[in-house]
């Protein structure tokens, strides 16, 4: 059992445990903090797959920007004295059951695929995930989607400002 396998199992267990903690915590602040741990575990997986650019971007964008935005919004709201609605235990039960059934279907489908045993994942080698190669591809082959995504960002920014504005 080499170090890569150990790191893989550790990161997988960490990601799954933290994901379960995200959906079971009562306090939304703790959910946000556990979700940050999930994102760090997924970034570790990216590093294991030698996709360093995506690992860094995942930490900066998700754990750095998006989660801070979530925390900011949560702390702006006063969640202490919210009206408590009646909790339907059957809805929770059915939600968990349907999630588990979806997992069973996905796993059994992937297990029954014919050439699944012939494929393997190359760990810790290959240079397609380095920033040099990805930058070349991004600015030559995918230059048009890159520019379109900047327009998307502009419209999202304008939309957030327009929606968040107080109506007088």
């Amino acid at each position: 059992m080499d170090i890569t396998t150990i790191v893989f199992w550790f990161l997988s267990a960490l990601a799954l445990f933290s994901a379960i903690m995200v959906i079971t915590r009562k306090n939304p602040i703790f959910s946000v903090l556990w979700l940050i741990i999930v994102f760090f575990a997924i970034s570790g997986h990216y590093l294991l797959l030698n996709a360093q650019f995506l690992a860094v971007v995942n930490i900066i964008v998700y754990a750095g920007a998006i989660m801070v935005l979530f925390l900011f919004v949560l702390m702006m709201m006063n969640l202490e004295n919210l009206p408590v609605v009646n909790k339907n235990i059957w809805m929770k039960f059915l939600g968990v059951i349907s999630g588990g059934l979806l997992l069973c279907i996905l796993v059994s489908t992937s297990k029954s695929a014919a050439d699944m045993n012939l494929k393997t994942i190359i760990m810790k080698e290959g240079n397609i995930g380095l920033i040099e190669n990805l930058g070349k591809v991004l600015f030559t082959k995918y230059a048009l989607p890159f520019e379109i995504s900047s327009i998307l960002f502009l419209s999202a920014m304008v939309g957030a400002v327009v929606i968040g504005k107080k109506e007088s």
Binding site: F70, M77, L79, A156, A160
Partner: protein
């Protein structure tokens, strides 16, 4: 590492996200579960970009596969835009209804 390990891991993360969306009533947590599902898909895309046949000799490194990682990059871009607009909508709903419970939000009119 066999590819089925990554498929099972990403499927498990995705299904935890689905179960969270179905069980939690807090709009922000529902939103976070959607982010979790997006990340599961990203992980699977990166894993598939490094996939190759067992029969291939280990010395030959494949050159393809950067398309998948560019795709993950664009998914992150769209997720960031989505989060900014979605959180603005949630803040506005909290300002109007004084709650972020999605049971109260089933009637969007008045």
């Amino acid at each position: 590492m066999p590819v089925s390990y990554y498929i099972i891991l990403a499927s498990a993360l995705f299904c935890i996200g689905v179960a969270g969306v179905l069980t939690r009533r807090n709009a922000i947590i529902v939103f976070m579960c959607i982010e979790l599902m997006l990340n599961a898909v990203n992980l699977l895309l990166v894993a598939f970009s490094k996939m190759q046949n067992i029969a291939t000799p280990p010395g030959s490194v494949s050159v393809g596969g950067s398309d998948a990682q560019i795709f993950v990059f664009f998914i992150m871009v769209v997720a960031a835009a989505e989060v900014s607009v979605g959180l603005a909508i949630i803040v506005m709903m909290y300002r109007n209804v004084h709650s972020i419970d999605i049971n109260f939000l089933n009637r969007l009119k008045n």
